[in-house]
Symmetry: C2
């Protein structure tokens, strides 16, 4: 074992999930951060943490740092408190990367109270525990959905926050709460809360090893996992394209896909920037030490582009039906990624072919997913 | 005793507070509603509930309905659950009037997390309990602060919600959550959640009996109670007027004061309108059965107007000092009250002299407040 005690402890909530597990791997591979994962296993499997450890050993050798896992639900504030208490005597948890959340846009309209309770209430509980244990560094998993239907595309971070779903509103509210928390402590110097919201565009792909990937329960809600499961025969091919009359090059909706390992890297860069405090130089105490960054490629891909790319990766001939527009879909959500590039040094380098190749690699190696391991 | 079992049970959270206790009295006096009060006594005294009962007996005779009190903190969700469970066998709680909240704008900037936890988290817990016990009628105590600095004065309900303090943001968030909850159940007919947000302008005065009034802990944060306490000698007269160079008739800030008994009546009218469902006729299922109304007089009063009015009521010669503007003060917050008049039949009838007279009456009869009873 490496001397883990020299590593900065980073609590990763929702660290077994699709994005969370790739963040955990990326943190391990830095050799600087020790991920402590909490997850309630609501939509994720403990197997993911073993895979993270395995990848770290594959790449760093037998003395690679090992992630730690505690099964904890954020709604159980005494359990959250216990995790902070456990590490308080060992230098404490240095930062929190908060990804745990309910995340299905459609479902959020049906059971909004659960979304507010878990996403907003859970974030408040976490911030309270951080305050109690003097942990003041925070990276928040936000979403491009906070922009609603943006006036300007590509979308800069300065676009108004006007989420159009309960899910998006939970993310927007946590951003607002975070900024208030940062503002309230802004005059406390190093002990001021330093927070970064990273607004995800469309994560895709999987770890190139094929050991980690997206493992949705039930029918995938997102296009790429659905395409992968159709190609591998796990889902029936009832592929629907919702609308081909949008004001986009081929008429179908355009999204900004980025590789999940690039997205994960964005979290590491955010932590690095919090450590160096570089990104807060421009913050006034009236604003608080709070920043928000888009994490996207800045390159739009249409639904038809994605189907073609997955066909190329999998060899599967997709049949699809064009149906009417889906309520709430926005024509084009493409990031302006220049701020994150300039201030975090973030570039989503991997291209669409790599996303599809890695997704397909994961899908074929894990036909039924790692739920069955 | 009247036959209380024929009365509609209304849970009043924060029912011991300044506005809450006047709502409780107003509900009792209708002879239709039975208030069940919960309060954590954080900034209120159980004496208030005795005063409410006394006023009801004075006005309705010995068989006046009596309010019920449970000391409960909204953050304790099992205690909230128990209250709903207790009445579940007796026809259940018909509606909730939710006033419990932290309410100091300045403090909300210092301890925002507490404000979000109590005001937002508490509302979520309450809505969850309502869902569990099939209680679907809700009146929410919102605030004119949700408008921030409005573009149009008098302010219509259609003004954008853009609160400028953490306190105001908690109110705005609960309105947003409420609307999502209403929307999610809109197709459930009578069982759909029906909610009304009442946006308070500046409540003032006291019950005309002198038995109920505002009883702030520590130095009053609001102008009128401060003026009353100065006149009665409970506060030293270090009266400051923050800015006399605003674009208002006399240069000092203008607010829309309404008598607290008028404000309380607004809650009763909102419950009546929920019972008759009249105000939801225009709501689509995409919007949900949700409405918001200003409760104000629609008449602006400046700081200097208020000092003059309190001088008239108390005979006290106020000395004040004009100092610089206070951060965050908006020049003019006057309601457009026409929607509430048209749809709820709400008119804030009592004038400024009555507010000051009733406040002074309460202050002189309760020199040290009812905390000392």
């Amino acid at each position: 074992m490496s001397n883990s005690s020299s590593l900065k402890k980073v609590l990763v909530t929702g660290g077994l999930g699709y994005i969370g597990s790739h963040v955990v791997v990326s943190l391990l591979l830095t050799g600087k951060y020790l991920p402590i994962v909490i997850d309630n296993c609501h939509n994720a499997y403990p197997e993911a943490i073993k895979r993270c450890a395995e990848i770290a050993r594959d790449e760093m050798g037998a003395d690679a740092p090992q992630p730690i896992f505690h099964q904890v639900d954020l709604r159980d504030s005494s359990a959250v408190d216990e995790v902070f208490a456990k590490y308080a005597g060992e230098g404490g948890i240095w930062a929190v990367v908060h990804l745990a959340a309910l995340k299905a846009v459609g479902e959020s309209g049906e059971i909004p109270l659960q979304y507010y309770k878990v996403n907003v209430g859970g974030s408040i509980a976490l911030l309270e525990a951080m305050e109690k244990y003097n942990c003041s560094n925070f990276v928040f998993s936000s979403s491009a959905t906070v922009y609603g239907t943006p006036k300007t595309v590509p979308i800069p971070e300065s676009s108004p926050l006007q989420a159009e779903s309960a899910y998006g509103r939970t993310k927007q509210m946590v951003e607002v709460i975070l900024q208030d928390v940062c503002r309230a402590s802004a005059d406390k110097g190093d002990k001021a809360v330093h927070a970064v919201s990273v607004r995800y565009f469309n994560p895709a792909g999987a770890h190139p090893s094929g050991k980690l990937g997206e493992e949705p329960m039930g029918k995938p809600g997102n296009l790429l996992p659905l395409l992968a499961q159709i190609a591998v025969g796990r889902q029936k091919s009832d592929l629907k394209v919702f609308g081909d009359d949008y004001p986009t090059p081929d008429g179908t909706c355009v999204r900004d896909y980025l590789h999940v390992m690039d997205l994960a890297k964005g979290h590491v860069l955010a932590l690095d920037a919090i450590a160096s405090k570089s990104i807060f130089a421009s913050c006034t105490s009236a604003e608080g030490m709070y920043r928000a960054f888009n994490l996207g490629k800045g390159k739009g891909m249409s639904v038809l582009n994605m189907i073609a790319a997955m066909k190329k990766a999998s060899g599967f001939e997709y049949k699809y039906e064009i149906v009417g527009r889906r309520l709430g879909d926005v024509p084009d959500l493409t990031a302006d990624p220049t701020l994150a590039e300039k201030e975090l040094g973030f570039v989503a380098e991997k291209n669409l072919d790599e996303m599809c190749r890695d997704l397909w690699n994961f899908q074929t190696k894990n036909g039924d997913g790692y739920s069955k391991q």
